[in-house]
Point group: C2
Chain length 328, copies 2
Amino acid sequence: MNIGEIAKLAGVSSAAVSRYFNNGYISEEKRETIRKVVEKTGYRPSVQAQMLRTKKTKMIGVILPKIDLGSITSMVSGLLAVLNENGYQLLLANTQNNSEKELEYLSTFNSKQVDGVVFIATIFTAKHRKALKEMTVPVVIAGQRLSGYPCIYHDDYNAVYELTSMFLKKGCRQIGYLGVLPQDKAAGQARFEGYCNAVTDGGLKECRENTLVADFTMESGYEKTEELIRKCGLLDGLICATDEIAIGAIQYFKSQKISVPGDILVAGIGDSALSKVTTPTVTTVHYSFEKSGELAAEMLLNILVGNDCSIREVKLGYSIVENESSRK
Amino acid sequence: MNIGEIAKLAGVSSAAVSRYFNNGYISEEKRETIRKVVEKTGYRPSVQAQMLRTKKTKMIGVILPKIDLGSITSMVSGLLAVLNENGYQLLLANTQNNSEKELEYLSTFNSKQVDGVVFIATIFTAKHRKALKEMTVPVVIAGQRLSGYPCIYHDDYNAVYELTSMFLKKGCRQIGYLGVLPQDKAAGQARFEGYCNAVTDGGLKECRENTLVADFTMESGYEKTEELIRKCGLLDGLICATDEIAIGAIQYFKSQKISVPGDILVAGIGDSALSKVTTPTVTTVHYSFEKSGELAAEMLLNILVGNDCSIREVKLGYSIVENESSRK
DNA sequence: ATAATAAGTGTAATCGGTTTCATATGATAG
DNA sequence: CTATCATATGAAACCGATTACACTTATTAT
């Protein structure tokens, strides 16, 4: 069943049927006859033919490093809400933190498979920059700031700065930090700098000694906390770059009969579901990931309609969620 | 840059270039010249044109009720792994538990937009059956058994039967149950029946009185536990249809100074990340959702290549993860 | 020597729409 | 009474690939 057959049944040309679907000039009377035929046959235009002819796929590619992460699924949820609302579909690519795959999917999506791309990445290399430069479809970066590209990210620096300052105000004088790789500008570098500057501004020194790099897991949080304590002695505060790390840290302290928050205050980042069910519950930073997904989608759609004056860079705020692990 | 221009540059026909990409008859020498031209120009065939001509989109639609749920993202992860491996892309549709949207996306995907659909649903109505009957592209159902359709699901009945039997063996004589809507055949009905039959087989009676229906949240678990205790007095065991409900229940017991597992044993289902970080950690049932995603993808791909003798229905096993909430 | 088969190639039809262009009609303006 | 314009329509070109078909040449079987 194609447009020609419908046209024949309705006694019009295929152009008229096309206009019927695309709000072109068409008389009320033909519109009605076509409507009837379409209804009776259940005809739907072939999206493939439309894509080929119009060069619009109405699809947005989303590249993400890991699907089973609350922050990321929230973003996807926000993306989907806005995209579907506007008649776009979402093509998902999971790179499993594999840098090569990120480049591969960028290239795949670029070859006209989608109208635009939302790129959720953690670490940008020179290769990424090169791949991005070669893109012919618009790309919005989510979760990181990348100069020259439309992007949306969170105020990591100030979030951790404020978190650390809060610990100082509560009397902490030996604050440790468990971070992630600094190549990750957002979760790694910005958060670490927030910690460092807050500590220095608070009149403490040698912040770098009280820090270690972990990965994004609870196990790593546990191990690195042990290492940190062995290295620095007992601290009175510990800021962690993610909730998972913080929970691992708390588990270590529990195993050592070190009281949280009695002996040491602990905080994480992300406001994950986990942070609300542990004992003690974990003080953390809330980012609105769903909102950032929605905004990323809106930015991309704006670019697609050629709205050159639209928002091109967004830094989203945060709110500190004080839970039991820092109540003093 | 289209196939014709490449053909001209290589001094061959467009058919030859097409054959170059599709492993058709072509001499080694032409293959080489085409390869060079393709490399130099960076040409890639238009997927839209290919789709139109071949009637294959190499895309699979995935319809899911909620993206921010560990079990579902694990499935998606498994789906993606297998689909991408085989050159397929994943088109994501999130229905937010909206039955109308489920039907709408089924219909959208059906109109030749994808080669096949993976449908992750919770409740099947008559409308769903009708919509499924009208599908012209193959559909694999995940998370539920639906007679007549390729499907993949977990052994909910026996999982809960075994969990309940374990509680009985530990001496429980008053086991309560917090379930979800029985319209959900898998998480609702099958789990509930597993509980009922285990209780009856264990020589206890009146199982139905000790049960209530909650929804999938911790809050609901908290409230319904309160209601259940008010109704039935103190139980000595509580089986919950999900980990979230179980955690809500434990929070209620904590608030009432009722000891878990001292006074009452509690278990959930799903082996979520949450169940591992609470105090006490929650006894639960592990399902391999990632594997079910992989299998669903494999089933669908098999159907697509016309392998009629392939697996059409899979019931996956489970393992009980005994944690602190039931250690007696 | 001849028939049959396999390998290699190009032409042109095809997939199913959208859109340009030419054309027609009726209404309004000058 | 013509010129202009908005509305309405269909024919045909076009998007960019795949593939059926016809054809040539080389190889093998009879």
